[in-house]
Amino acid sequence: MPLNVLLLFLVVYPAIAAGLLLLVRSDSFRGVFVPVSAALVAAGSIAVAVLFALGGGKPVALSFECEAIDVVLALVDALIAISIAVIAGRGHKPWIVLLAIIQLALLAVNELAVAPRASVFTPIYVDTLSVIMALVIGIIGTGITVYAIGYMRDFQRHADSDRRHVFFAVMWIFLTGMYLIVFSNNLAWLFCGWEITTVCSFLLIGYTRTEEATRNAFRQIWMNLLGGLAFACANIVSGLFGIGELTQLIALGQLSPTVVTTFVVTLLGFAAITKAAQMPFHTWLLGAMVAPTPTSALLHSSTMVKAGCFLLIKLAPACGLNIPGIMLMLVGGFTFMMTSIMAITQSNAKRVLAYSTIANLGLIVACAGIGSPLATWAAIFLLIFHAAAKSLLFLCVGTAEHHIGSRNIEDMDSLFSRMPRLSRFMVIGMLVMFIAPFGMLISKWAAFQAFIDSYNIGLVLMLAFGSAATFFFWAKWIGKVSASARSEVSVEQGVHASEWLAITLMAVLAIACTLLFPLISYFVVDPYLGVSTGVGLDNLWLLSALALVVVAVMVGISGRPSGKGRTLPVYLSGVSLDGDDRVFSDSMQQPLEATQRNWYMEGVFSEEKLRRVGQVVGTFILLWGVVAALTFMMGIGGGL
């Protein structure tokens, strides 16, 4: 099948599937249709990758003669803006209505006055990065929708009305938006995908319709509308200069950072920062965790925030020591450090995961800001490993929550005994996220080297302190989960098959990426960036082998008595009452259980204080970036 047909299939099929899921409300239909669709889309994505590889891995630019598409996508844009305005009006949010109306006005200006001047020759463009993203969306994104089948069945038991058909439909539309983003070269099309993902995550966050969900959904929408406005302005400005393609923009920016590219790239960077939930906009992603867990998994791993990262990595060649580059470096590095430290204070597992996502996206943003090949190498691998590991972790936490009745890390004490299989997957996900021989840390290592090379001392310090905090909050979580208690019984029999399927898929992906890291680097990413492997291929092979050993140990370890030798109770200063647990005889001769909570150190690192500092500093950096870029354009471009 030719590439263009496959691309069309990937963009259109999820939308059709969404339509069917909206119309046919039967749960048994979903149980069959979603896995089949997921398999089809995954196969389509893999086929694209194979065709692309057979073509030598060279970028493919396609022309597409069809005026109707432009009109349809413009109408979709308008429809999104109008519906946001209506929903916000009903929710009594005048500011959001205003933002949506401005958006609509900008769209009208762009469509009627500017777009005809912007030249677009090849609206579709597929390079290695697009293919990597297509695989992430096609395998991880659809895998999460499969997980949702079983999860939402459990979830429905506590809900009043059955609106699951909406939930599934929105998830699938989301995928269409993502494919549109990663394959489009036409900035107007890209913008349409951008807005689809914004509105889809709004609907998913507000799904439960509780007061909190509605509030958080509105927070998400105003923040991302700001980003959308920046994107729309970027399109108008670039259109005025005749630029209608992303590749043209990047090529111009790379050649010589001219007036127009500096301003446009800064605006696009701003838009990506809102989408990637960087400070000061990080709160929308924290608020997103009120939604059912598949939503979080989808937003964090393969869609939404990754759209921001995708755009930034694309723009990386146009960054560096210029206004957008410096803005991205500072915001990303600062967000990484602050949110890593803030994660220490959290005992809610989903909140820890959210902070960790924001922190890792911060690293990607900073790497894109540096824009050197080594930094871009790091950014791409951070994206891949984060997608696999974070989806795995969210799915594990979601399933654990349904079976132990809590998403608090303290309640996951000795999960190794209570949910043996699930907790091992969870620990593997965590290891992949933060420690050496695993992928994220190797990418972080490359990022560290790129930071040092960029002569940005602030970034070096922020990475050093942020990394230390990262170790602390993951290690204490792993410690709790991997404790073994002899008296506990397993409670994981009731886990739905679709959940196991998706979780196993994510775990296999996370491990496979770790083990095949050297090959992916050598055959895929290095040729794309034209560099030799970031941290040395021999080092990568060594790490890959070590990772295999660690995974084998963590999966194989049981904690049961081995048969050789005696098993002893723990030491309780000689006053223990029963051998297994931590019960001892207190000073009144009464039984008392020794309990212990992890350290959260709220007194040292206050979340509230750090949030305020982060919002002020983040806002300042962004304002500086936009104003500086504007002044630069006015100053030099004043004669135009």
């Binding site: 004490d413 000795s414 420690i435 050496a436 021989p437 840390l441 290592w445 560290f448 080297q449 040092i452 002569y455 001392i457 070096v460 310090l461 990475l463 050093a464 302190f465 990394s467 230390a468 905090a469 170790f471 602390f472 290690a475 204490k476 792993i478 410690g479 709790k480 991997s482 404790a483 073994s484 208690a485 941290v535 040395g536 080092n539 790490l543 070590l546 050993v549 660690v550 140990v553 370890i557 049981s558 904690g559 049961r560 008595p561 081995s562 050789k564 030798g565 005696r566 098993t567 002893l568 723990v570 030491y571 309780l572 200063s573 931590r582 020794a594 212990q596 992890n598 350290w599 040292v604």
Partner: protein, 291 residues
């Protein structure tokens, strides 16, 4: 060159525990003399470990024993990589993995004492990690490489350009060597409020393995210290060895003269040391590299 690297790695693999055990034995003797005691024989650590290895197999948790094996394995791998002249940053990252296994092992039994020790060990890693990363950055900026072999064979000692980092490194070396005032997680001295912290539930072979890992670590961290001072000539090797002996004596002296501090103090001091000394030194390196 490759042969020399292999020889050094194997020398660490085989000789590491002997040298490390000897250092610990001398440490105990010198400490005893500082306190006006006669002290145990210098070979006492070896007698202790030999006895532990011969003990009956009895454990609180078999999983814990496996984690300690992994701790030992990762310390040995990172040490071999270091003495074979590998990538310094990679060595530090693998040492962190080793520490993670120690933390998990201590959590594993759910013993209140060991778990409190695990929290503290975890905190210690967080306290020293920024300084370790900045040290790696300093070596890279001073010599243009993370490669231990190239740093060690440079024309002039790295310390000439990384003096402040070196001072900061000595600060966290006290944490890494588990010396007072920063022996917060293990309570190395006497029977204190945490019993024996992270090691409370280790017994027999597992405790022996933990001790051996500690010997390997001691040699490895003294190797890191030497890397600041060594340069590519026989004189450089001798100077580095003498310096390490003097510095270790200084560590013993500190160990015997300072009471254990609270964790808040340790965290604050080591982060400020990393920020102030490390940051200033890296700024200096950037400036001289630009000029």
């Amino acid at each position: 060159m490759t042969l020399l690297k292999a020889v050094l790695a194997i020398a660490f693999l085989i000789g590491g525990p002997f040298l490390g055990g000897l250092i610990v034995g001398i440490d105990r003797k010198v400490s005893a003399r500082m306190q006006g005691r006669v002290g145990p024989p210098i070979l006492q650590p070896f007698y202790d470990v030999a006895k532990l290895l011969g003990k009956e197999r009895a454990t609180v948790s078999t999983a814990q024993d496996i984690y300690i094996v992994m701790y030992l394995v990762f310390v040995v791998i990172s040490g071999c990589l270091f003495f074979a002249g590998g990538n310094f940053l990679l060595v530090t990252l693998l040492v962190t993995m080793a520490s993670l296994f120690l933390v998990i092992a201590a959590y594993n039994t759910r013993s209140p004492f060991a778990e409190a020790g695990a929290q503290r060990e975890n905190l210690q890693v967080m306290a020293y990690e920024p300084m370790v990363l900045l040290t790696a950055a300093g070596f890279y900026l001073a010599t243009g490489t993370f490669d231990v072999a190239q740093i060690g064979l440079a024309q002039s000692p790295a310390i000439l350009k990384t003096f402040l980092l070196f001072i900061g490194f000595l600060f966290i070396l006290t944490i890494k060597l588990r010396k007072s005032p920063f022996d917060i997680s293990t309570s190395e001295h006497a029977h204190q409020e945490l019993v024996k912290g992270v090691t409370t539930e280790f017994a027999g072979r597992t405790l022996a393995r933990y001790e051996i890992a500690h010997w390997y670590e001691t040699v490895l961290f003294l190797g890191w210290t030497a890397l600041f001072i060594i340069w590519g000539s026989p004189v450089g090797v001798v100077v580095a060895l003498v310096a390490v002996v003097v510095l270790y004596f200084l560590e013993i002296w500190i160990d015997n003269n300072f009471a254990r501090v609270k964790w808040q103090v340790m965290l604050r001091y080591s982060w400020w040391a990393a920020f102030g000394l490390g940051g200033a030194n890296i700024l200096y390196l950037y400036i001289i590299n630009l000029l």
